[in-house]
Each structure stands twice: as C-alpha cells, then as structure tokens.
Amino acid sequence: MGGGVGVSTTSVLGGVVKRREDPALIRGTGLYVDDLQLPGMLHVAFVRSPYAHARVVSVDASDAEAMDGVRAVYTAADVAHLGDLVTQVAVGKLRPLLAGDKVNHLGEAVAMVVADSRYGARDAADAVDVEYDPLDPVIDLKEAASDAALVHEDMESNVLLAWEGGPWGDEEAIAATQQTIADAKGRDDTVSVSIEAVNQRLLPMPMEPRSVVADWNVGYGRFTVHSSTQIAHALAGGIAQTFGLSLTDVRCIAPEVGGGFGCKLNVYNDEILVCFASQQLGRPVKFTETRRDAAGSTIHGRGWVATATITGTGDGQILGYELDGIADMGAYSQNFTVAIPFLGLFVGAGQYSFPTHWKVACVHTHTMTTDAYRGAGRPEAAYYLERAIDAYAREIGVDPAEVRRKNFIPADQFPGAATHIGFPMDTGDYETNLDALLETAGYEDLKAERDRLRAEGRLVGLGLATYVEVCGFGPSALVDLGFSWAAYKIPSGFSGSGLVRVQADGTASVIIGTGPTGQGHQTTWAQIVSNQLGIPVENIRVSHGDTAESPLGIGTFGSRSAAVDGSATYEAANKVRAKAADLAAHLLEASADDIVFADGGAHVAGSPDQQVSWSDIATLAYQPHRLPEGMEGGLEAHAVFSPGNATWPFGSHLALVEVDGDTGDVKLLRYIAMDDCGNVINPMIVDGQIHGGLAQGIGQAMFEDGDYEADGNLLKWSFVEYPLPTSADLPSFELHRTVTPTDINPLGVKGIGEAGTIGSAQTVVNAVVDALSPLGVTHVDMPLRPKRVWAAIQAAKTNGSVS
C-alpha cells in the first residue's frame, strides 16, 4: 500500500523523487508555445460560425482585407486542394479545414485571418461579413439516432456504426448471450433493474489552451512547427501527409504542455491551416486559442445517453447486464472519435463475470467533435455499469459491496481471464482490492454512522464503485484492427521507444518518443534509467517532444507512457548497462559477468574499493583506440517496446456525502480510493495523477456540464458558465493501493493517468443517490448541481417515488 512515503533522493523504482520539472514550471522559465516569438511572426484569428447548422450564403472579407496589418483572409476555396482534415479512424464525415457551403456546429471555422498582431487579427475577423441561412440543427441524441433529420444531407444515416458485444464481432455468440439474459429475465426468481442516464458532454479545458506556431523555411523546404500537443510525431506525419512532404521535411516540437487530458491527442485543422498560411506568406504564423476557442472548437468528451439493466437473483447473483446507448460523435470525426465507445466496450462488464450484452451506437449531431477525454469511453462504461449494480443492490436489499464481491471474476482465473468480449486481461485480484478498501475505510462503521445520522433526518450517503481499465496501449498488432496511424505516416501502431546515451562525463541523456503534459516524465524516466545504471537521478536529463531528435513515439495518452515507452527506455538502459559492463571489465581487467554497478560507478563483485566511475567508463567508450578489439565506440542504445497486450489496472472507491435537503447542496465529506496500477515508479507522482483524475471525475459528477442547448447553442464560454472543480471544492483525498504487477512489461507497471477519472463519477453519484434513497430517489443525472438534486428531492416528495 502506498501513501505517506517520505521524500528521498534515492533513484530506486518505487521511491519518491521530487519532480525534476517543477523548478522551471514554478519559476516560469519553461517555454510554452505561446511564449515563442519568432522574427516576422504573424497571428491568426478564426471567423467562427454563430450557428449550429446553416448554409453559408457568402463570405465577404473585403473590409477585413483592407484593414491595416492584415496579410490575408483565407476561406474554404483557398485550402480545398489540401482535402479534409487528416484523420486516423476515418469513419463518418471528416472535418473540412474550413467550412464551405455549410457550417455544422457552433464555432466551426469559416475563414482564417492572418495579421501582424493578434489584436489586429481579431479585429479583422470581426470585420469579415458572413451571410448565413440558418437551418434546424440535430442536437438531441435520440432524435439523431432516429434519422428523423440528417446531420449531413449526403449521408444515408446519422448512425455511423454500433459497437456491440460480446463476444465482440461474433454475431452468433452475441445472439446466444442475449438469449441467456432473456432466459434469466424470464425466471421467477430474478429481478431486472434499469436506469436511464445521461453521461453529459464535457469540455476538456486544459489550463494551457492549444497553441501552434508554424514556420515554413522555403530554402530548406521544411516546416518547423511548435504545438501544444500530446502527439508531436503524429502531428509531423499529419502535416507531411497533407502537404505531400516527407517525414524529414516536418519537424514538430511540443515544448512544455500545460495539460492535455486527450484534447491535444488530435491533429487539428488550425495546425494544418497555420502551416498553409506560413507557406503562403513566407512568415512564421501563430495561432493561440482563446478560452472561447478552447471551449467551442477543441474536442469534447463523453456525451452519451444509455439505459443500463441488471438482471439477477434476490440474493445478489447477477445473471445478465445490458447496456443500450447512443454516443455523440459531433458533426465530424477526428482522430479517434468513433473509437472512443469501443474503448468502453472493452471494459463494459468491468470486474465482473456475468453475461453482458453491450451496444452503443455512434451518431453525428450538429455539435463539436467528441474524442478522447481522460478515460475516453471507459468512464462512461464504468458509470452505467456501477450505477446499475447499485440500483439492483438497493432493489434487492443486499449490501452493494456484497453484490459486487459475489460477481467478480475470481482471482484464480488469472492468468487467463478474459473480458466479456473475450479479450485477454493481464492480471487482477479484485476481491483483495475491495476488501482492502472496505477495511481501510472502516466500511461497517461508516454504514452504522450513516444509519445513525439518517435516523436523525440527515441525508447522508455512502457510494461504492469498482472499475477495471484497459490502457497502456499497446500491442503493435492494433495496427491490424485499424488503429494504424497510417494517416499520420506512422506505421508503428502503439509501440514505444527510448534512447539512452551516457555522455563522456558520466551523465546520461534520455530521449523519449512521448512527452508529458504534466505527468512528470523527466522524473519518472530518470528513475527508470537510474535504477538500471546506478547513475544518480540528478545526473540524468530527459528530453522529449522534438521529432527531429526523439525516437518515434505515439504520444502520451491512454495511460500508456510508462508502460510502453518506459519499458522501451528500461530495455535501452539495459543495453547500455551490458555494454558498460564490458567497458568496465576492460578497465578493471575482469569478466563482464563479475561487474557490479553501484555508487555511481562499477566495480568487480567483492572488490568495491576498486571502483571505476561512469565518467571513466564513458571516456573509454568515446576513445575507440583504447577499446578492446571488435568493440564499437560510443555508449548509447535505442530500444523499441511493443507489449503483448494492453494493461488492465483496477480499483475500488468509496465516497461519503451529505446533502442539504433544503437547498440540494451536496457536500463531499470523504473520498477513499484503493487503486491498483501494478508496480509504482514514483508514489508521489502516482498520487498526483490520482488526485487530478479524481478531481476530473468528481468534476463531472458535481460541476461540469458541456451539453448544448436544444438550438445548438453552447452557453459555456468561460469558467463562469463552466465551473471546474478547484481544490477548495474537494476533500483531502484518502489514497491507498494494492499492488498486482502486470506481466506484460518488464517494469510491471499498468498506468495511472486515467484511473481516478474512470472510478470516481459513479462513486459520488451512488453516494448521493444513497443519501436521497430514504426519500425514494433512485437516480439523479450529472452534474449534481444543487438545482438538480433539489428538483429530484421535490419530485420524490411529490410522487412519493422516483425522480
């Protein structure tokens, strides 16, 4: 179990090392894209649609073009030759770089203004006169799924596909599962409990909005692009693909990135368009989102409506789970859009072994594209499952912990356990984890306390939920499932890489293919390399984010960096270690097998007094004339790692809440998390990831609402209308761990970036519904803003039953 570990400067895996990137971030000396000022740099502002759905009758830019400092105004016709936005999972309508004769969501870019200053660009954008002929938008998901009106008139249906399983893809087996569940429903000794719930749209809103600077060097015929992105290599490939260039003609640099959460896991039309403008105008061109741009024109997350049904016996044996849902893709598909519910499908049955029929249809609407947002499909899947299990437990009057325990995939099925769609899982021990949570939290005492307060008339509730996550992508064989990244000229699928170079002075440079958006790669990777080489963490510098120097890596998302690129770096460090052992053996006139690395150098086992330093070893490596015959000079290694599976972290969470019955105000009193992400490299960083993840899940449960109005308007343009959770809104989290290492990578790590988010929203909602259950409330949709909770209480009082 983790937590409470004192800070040390040791480099061993599992030790707390203070984040090496923080001094620069705290002192403001880190470089973010918008800090970049290049000579002659021009600025972009977009003219964006004020309508969700309209014909573009005309675009008159003459006033804007005549303004001082305006260099160009581009419209769809100017960029038509570049095609639609380059897209990996190209299912559905792809995004035009600029809207042509129709706009299909509020905030869609209609024209791009390039000017000498960002103020001038904004002024000119306001002066572009666009005439629209507004049309009725399709916003409601059920209406969209019915095809009563088409989002895109040249498509036959708004429904792009439905993810259905399992087992996945096997129609006969799916029908058999449905029959099994139907049979269970027909039994006299079973009950079926359904909830219909909205998993509302969320706006990612990273602290640093997206920003991009493109610089076309006509002499070299090369783009240098700085972008606040999670996927520098994919961006380089996407630009190369769009402009017919080679990968070496595009250098992308992701410097400090201030949060991403998946929304920077896309190649965006603005990134392509600034490249185009730079090429046209022969000047560097910058676009930095305003918060308003970020809210309306960067991808959104979630946006599902679904009905979840549990069928089981009166004593808690679940015999079937069904999910029937619709997921909002927005108007255009981008990088992963339709694949997000697919990630939910993987974990549709969570930690449980019951027959599951899971179906989610992906539909276009006249809204901004949805794509990966922290958890991406898995929070939605876990939300419906865990809400339905709680509703069932309440209906049959069995403790919700007991119901879950009864239906777990047993620990003795690992290795070899598979998900409901037949996909193999790595490791798991769900009962141990749940028991640890309940014991740590004092579950029985908490229940007694809740019941005592409830008897006094107070609305106190306990909420429990478990989750299993699929992450750490992944096997390069995913290429064969269509996740090839070919659109971005990256054929490697999801493999990772790392390069370790020991410099002549004995310090080490580590260059990795992924880069952080806050995850602490510079610290964690230094720990991995330090652990293998014995070079102190402070003598290791980790570089990332520059495609001209870093080995190919897909990016930081899907809780994959440590598991995949970290493992690659581990293997690269081992290669360096093997060569260093040969070098040290040469210096010490011993056998390489007898070399021990310790105390910042190497010695022969049993003779620690005769130590050679890493500087001695590296100096030898860089003086080829002194090397043993046949040995190459230099001391560096590169490794590529492709795991045999994804990883499957899991956990269980418990929340204690009190509701003010007079106002509907929800107070989150305690939040206790028992996560299992396998081995832990740096407990402090893992705790930090869980903190942020919980805040985002609780943010969805209690505060955030990114849904559009019925007319397609989005009334959330700033943090006034879109409240994010702050530290003041949250209790001090109680974090604990069980450790079940994975066997699919050498570090035994599973990933922790998304777990907190995947586990938390339903935990809080379950607690609030529990608090309100004496009133007869069985469901309240997120976010649990006071007005909604109060309305549920009023409805229950009026109806004497459900809200």
Binding site: D123, D662, D665, K667, S718, A728, A791
Partner: protein, 286 residues
C-alpha cells in the same frame, strides 16, 4: 479574448480623473478590473478610454468616522473581508466579501467595484443594501451621496452617471447585527450566488425593532425584501416568526432563471437563504 483597442489614462488625483471622465466620451473607470476586463476581452463591452483610478492617493483605506465606516474605491475584497471594524459593524459585508471570487480575485478586485458593477449574482451589493449604505459619487460637478436603496437600477446598471466615480461607500454604525447567506453556483459558498440574502436587524426588549433584508442572484438586481421586514418587525424573532417572514422574500421580485437555477428553485432558495441569514442575525443581535 483580445479586447478592442482602447486608450488608457492613469490620473494622479481625483480631480484629474473626474475631469478626464467629464471631457471624454466613452470613458470608463477601471479599479480592480476583475469584472470589466473579462467583459472587454470577450468584446461584450468596449470602452474607448479606461480611466485607471488605482494610482489616486487616498482611495485605499477603510476609515472609522464615528457614526459610519467609509470604504474607499480601491479597497480590495480581501481587505473588506478581514477588517475588524467591518466585522464588528457590517458583518454581512465582511462575509459577502470573503465569499466573493477566489483568493486572486479578492486581492485584486474591489468592494466598490463590485457594487458599481452591479452583477445580478454578486455578493456585496446586497450586503450594502441591507446595511443601508450610502454611496459617494464624485464628478467634475462635485460630490453627491446616493442611498443604497436608490443606487441599484437594473442589471449591471446603477444610479452612477457616466462622469461619476464611486469614491467610497459609507456604512452606518447602527447597532444590531447583520449576516449574509448564500448558495454558490458550485455549492456551498463558492462562486457567484445562485441566491443570497443579506440582512441587518436590531432587537430591543425581546422584539425585532427594525430590519433590512436584501436578495441577490434571483432578480435583475439586488432588491430589498420589504415584505419580510414588514412581517418580521415586532415579532420575537423566533424560528417560526422568521420562517413566516421569509415566505414573503419574493414580493415584488421577478425571479430569473439561468444555468444554475430554475425560477422555482431560485425562489425557494431565496426564502431559505433569507431564513438562514435572519436566524444568524437574530442570534448575533440577542
């Protein structure tokens, strides 16, 4: 989030400031800027000239002038929230200031700015109203006093004329006790008020002898709830008397809905917040 082009002037005296305001069309006073600058960045409001009063001496203090407290135009929310004289004589305002914005906003924004801006969901305007504050407005033509009850005209609209600066607000040292209660948009006291109520009352001989009650968040402007006062004064201030009086909180108020509350909900909350604030004030006054 880039404002339209504007001129910026930073006068060194009040006279200079009022003369710039008098001679410049489209000029707007800038104090802490916490409400004005976001509106400008969203291009919802684009003044031609900003007159920054932040460098004018003498506007940054809270003074005890015997029969009243004076809060200068540049006094921050944080200063209002932590001042001992305000805590003693105007607890409702101290509480309202402490629940305004976040730490950064409270350090940069000003009490007078919040009152002059008159956002429908701001905290401090209702406290000023309940405390019977007097607003002091300076212009090139001189100085005038405006009663709080005449000050709030409509949404984002006050009785201040274009050439006037709200130089201070005066709170009478009137005895009794005051309190402020709200439900914030993020629950608890955080963020703008979904609904809030500020109250001042005095108790003598076991009865509520006088009172003022003001609501925020529910209507187009902070509003005095006269019906509550009418029902409450003369009672013993018991919970039941307060509950009955609070039922009249919305007389004369047209409740507006928004993202954070329906009309029905905000109407209910206004009564709850009135009741809670009254209970606190009665407890403090007796």
């Amino acid at each position: 989030m880039y404002p339209r082009s504007f001129e910026y002037v930073s006068p060194g005296s009040l006279d200079e400031a009022t003369s710039v305001l008098a001679s410049t069309e489209g000029a707007k006073v800038l104090a802490g800027g916490m409400s004005l600058l976001p509106l400008m960045k969203l291009r919802l409001f684009s003044p031609d000239v900003l007159v920054d009063i932040g460098r004018i001496p003498g506007l940054s203090s809270i003074s005890d002038r015997g029969d009243h407290l004076a809060i200068g135009a540049m006094v921050s929310h944080a200063a209002t929230a932590s001042d001992s004289a305000i805590a003693e004589h105007a607890a409702a305002l101290a509480t309202a200031a402490s629940w305004t914005g976040d730490v950064q906003v409270r350090n940069q924004g000003t009490t007078c700015g919040s009152i002059a801006h008159a956002d429908i969901a701001a905290d401090q305007p209702s406290a000023a109203l309940a405390l019977g504050a007097t607003m002091v407005a300076a212009s090139a033509g001189g100085v005038r006093e405006i009663a709080a009850s005449d000050f709030f005209v409509d949404t984002l609209t006050t009785a201040l004329e274009p050439g006037e600066i709200l130089t201070e607000i005066r709170i009478p040292k009137q005895g009794g006790a005051s309190a402020y209660e709200k439900l914030g948009r993020r629950g608890g006291h955080t963020d703008y008020a979904v609904a809030g109520a500020a109250v001042w009352l005095d108790v003598s001989d076991g009865a509520v002898s006088s009172a003022r009650v003001a609501l925020t968040g529910v209507g187009a402007k902070p509003t005095l709830a006269e019906g509550v006062v009418e029902a409450l004064v003369g009672t013993d201030g018991s919970d039941s008397a307060i509950a009955a009086a609070s039922e009249r909180a919305l007389e004369g108020v047209t409740v507006l809905d928004d993202l954070f509350g329906t009309v029905e909900y905000k109407a209910h909350l206004a009564k709850v917040m009135t009741r809670r604030a009254l209970q606190q004030a009665v407890a403090a006054a007796t």
